[in-house]
């Protein structure tokens, strides 16, 4: 009797174990499929873009990257003005955003009293939550008119006549243009860069910081000579992440850049970027060559942000390696 029940219980238990093993394997495989799906998705994006961009690359060859024409009427397209606009607006954004983000990170980690730290970081991060189309509307209807009326004329008059640099600040004060786009991009990427900087600054061991203070360093010397060298790789990684954002940003730029396919020296000119061209023309594009050229622009943008991201990851990894623990 006892032997009978025991074997029944054993049978029961082993059946139970079998069932859980099957469920385990199923669960594990479902999660694996989901993870592989992410990989497949990115590969699919690359393949689809490449296939659809191929007619344009095939037709225009290397000229697609070096030519300046963008002429839908004659079905002649090339990417130089868009690539140029993308790179220049992002460069302006970085020139403004990096020092500002550094200042904010410095303020939050070293200067602000404890009660002010969280509110300031959250407020700055809210800048990242505002949709880019709002930046665009504000830029076009509020910022650009004021900028064009009060600030630009002054800059054109006073800096526009300098040798070398002056050429960058000439032309009619329209308010909109490459510089305005870069400035708005700067505001948009400040929260990304400053939050990475803040995080890596707080990774600096307290001992390092305190021993620097102990030998009589000022706050600035501690930050500039101790904190910054220690976190250099992480800071660069944060800058790269911000740069990636700026390169791909679409709506804000589309509103304020003026959307013209020309190449000029002045930053106050209207211009275009890869993403603004796509936003403006993709739905209206007629004919395979036109659409294909636009997809080719998208592919180029994807590859540019890919390279920037890879650099950022590499730098942040180096930072993590020195830290000695994976982040």
């Amino acid at each position: 009797m006892t032997a009978l029940t025991r074997s029944a219980a054993q049978r029961d238990r082993s059946r139970h174990a079998q069932r859980s093993a099957v469920a385990d394997a199923m669960f594990r495989n479902i999660t694996r499929v989901a993870a592989l799906l992410v990989l497949a998705l990115v590969i699919a994006i690359l393949v689809v873009l490449l296939v659809q961009a191929w007619p344009a690359f095939h037709r225009f060859g290397w000229h697609f990257f070096s030519g300046r024409e963008w002429d839908p009427a004659h079905a002649t397209f090339s990417a130089l003005t868009s690539i140029f606009g993308t790179l220049v607006t992002s460069a302006i954004a970085m020139v403004i955003a990096v020092p500002v983000s550094f200042g904010i990170a410095l303020f939050i980690t070293e200067l602000a009293p404890a009660w002010l730290r969280a509110p300031v970081s959250i407020a700055v991060e809210l800048l990242a939550a505002i949709p880019s189309i709002i930046y665009g509307m504000w830029g076009l209807f509020v910022f650009a008119p004021l900028f064009g009326e009060y600030v630009q004329p002054w800059i054109i008059e006073h800096i526009g006549s300098w040798p070398w640099v002056g050429a960058l600040f000439q032309g009619p004060p329209m308010g909109i243009g490459i510089f305005t786009a870069g400035l708005i991009l700067a505001i948009m990427v400040v929260p990304f860069i400053s939050s990475v900087m803040r995080d890596v600054f707080s990774l600096v061991p307290t001992v390092l910081r305190e021993s620097a203070y102990g030998v009589g360093c000022t706050t600035w010397e501690v930050v500039w000579r101790v904190v910054l060298p220690y976190t250099r790789a992480g800071v660069m990684g944060g800058i790269m992440l911000g740069l990636g954002r700026a390169l791909g940003e679409t709506m804000a730029v589309t509103f304020v850049i003026g959307n013209s396919h020309t190449l000029g020296t002045s930053l106050f000119n209207a211009g275009n970027t890869i993403s603004s061209t796509l936003a403006n023309e993709f739905t209206e594009a007629v004919g395979q060559t036109y659409t294909s050229s636009l997809v080719a622009l998208g592919l180029i943008l994807f590859l540019i942000t890919f390279v920037v991201l890879a650099l950022a990851k590499l730098l942040l990894l180096r930072m993590a390696a020195r830290e000695g623990s994976p982040t």
């Binding site: 992410v38 200042g103 200067l111 809210l126 709002i134």
Partner: protein, 284 residues
């Protein structure tokens, strides 16, 4: 002595100047936030009205609301969440629970970061290529799928981070009392990380509900009331874009009202998500 004190003075001045610049930088950042929000309130509040929520977008120069755009936005955002969230959570589970250190996991993590930083307009182009071009028309489905692709990496990243924070002792304790692996994951690990996972989803929703670029050539827009996901569907971001750029006064007013609403909703959502994270870290 004189030289030393001069150098001391110089160091103090440098310190003072640079720290002032740091404060100025912070004020510079906050200045734009205040200006942006002020603009929205100043230009948007005037046009808020009950009709906004009851009527569809009007033809130029006629009265109307944005009800169709609100509903359309909710529909495609919901589709994005429903498709993006489970895949993101499951993929994160594989990375955090089943293959933390494998080579493939490292590759998928990297690829996910690529997806996370991919320009959203490129995602739009991709969905246009595989969905819109294939079926021959713009549709709500295409818009929702584009949003799902943007949502997925956000959820994956935060979920994986949160799962990794769950101490291994909890997994071991559950396994020791005989729980199979999947129950350990679902009933112990998920439950412990729930707050963090929800935060990730909320941040994802905040991110996709303001996205305009990927909807421009997927969901497009629709001036009329429609809940048919198989056709172009109205949505707030694209509606704001088209109406703001239009020459008609009433369309611009609707655009500002919609801009105020969507920004308030997204700010509330991301503040709420941060609070969830904050209260969670307290528990630990």
């Amino acid at each position: 002595m004189n030289g030393a004190s001069a150098r001391y003075m110089r160091r103090r001045v440098v310190n003072w100047v640079s720290l002032s610049m740091s404060v100025l930088g912070t004020l510079f950042g906050l200045f734009w936030l205040v200006w942006l929000l002020w603009t929205l309130v100043a230009r948007g509040v005037r046009w808020l009205s009950p009709e906004l929520f009851t009527q569809s977008t009007p033809p130029p120069l006629a009265p109307g609301g944005i009800a169709n755009a609100i509903v359309g936005s909710i529909l495609i955002t919901a589709l994005g969440v429903i498709v993006g969230t489970p895949i993101g959570i499951l993929a994160a589970t594989w990375l955090a629970e089943f293959s933390r250190r494998s080579r493939l996991a490292a590759v998928i993590r990297f690829v996910n970061d690529i997806l996370l930083s991919a320009p959203s307009i490129v995602i739009g182009v991709f969905i246009y290529g595989v969905v819109v071009a294939r079926f021959g028309h713009f549709s709500g489905w295409a818009g929702g799928l584009a949003l799902a692709i943007i949502m997925l990496p956000v959820v994956l990243r935060t979920t994986e981070d949160m799962l990794k924070l769950v101490p291994d002792q909890m997994r071991e304790a559950a396994a020791a009392v005989g729980a199979p692996r999947w129950r350990v994951t679902v009933m112990v690990v998920y439950r412990a990380a729930l707050g963090g996972i929800i935060t990730g989803v909320l941040l994802g929703v905040a991110r996709i509900s303001g996205e305009t670029a990927p909807l421009l050539f997927t969901a497009l827009n629709n001036q009329f009331w429609s809940t048919d996901m198989n056709r172009p569907i109205a949505n707030l971001p694209v509606m704001i874009f088209q109406f703001a750029m239009s020459p008609y006064d009433n369309w611009q007013h609707l655009a500002w009202a919609a801009a105020l609403l969507i920004t308030l909703a997204i700010l509330a959502l991301s503040l709420f998500a941060r609070l969830v994270i904050r209260s969670r870290s307290f528990v630990k």
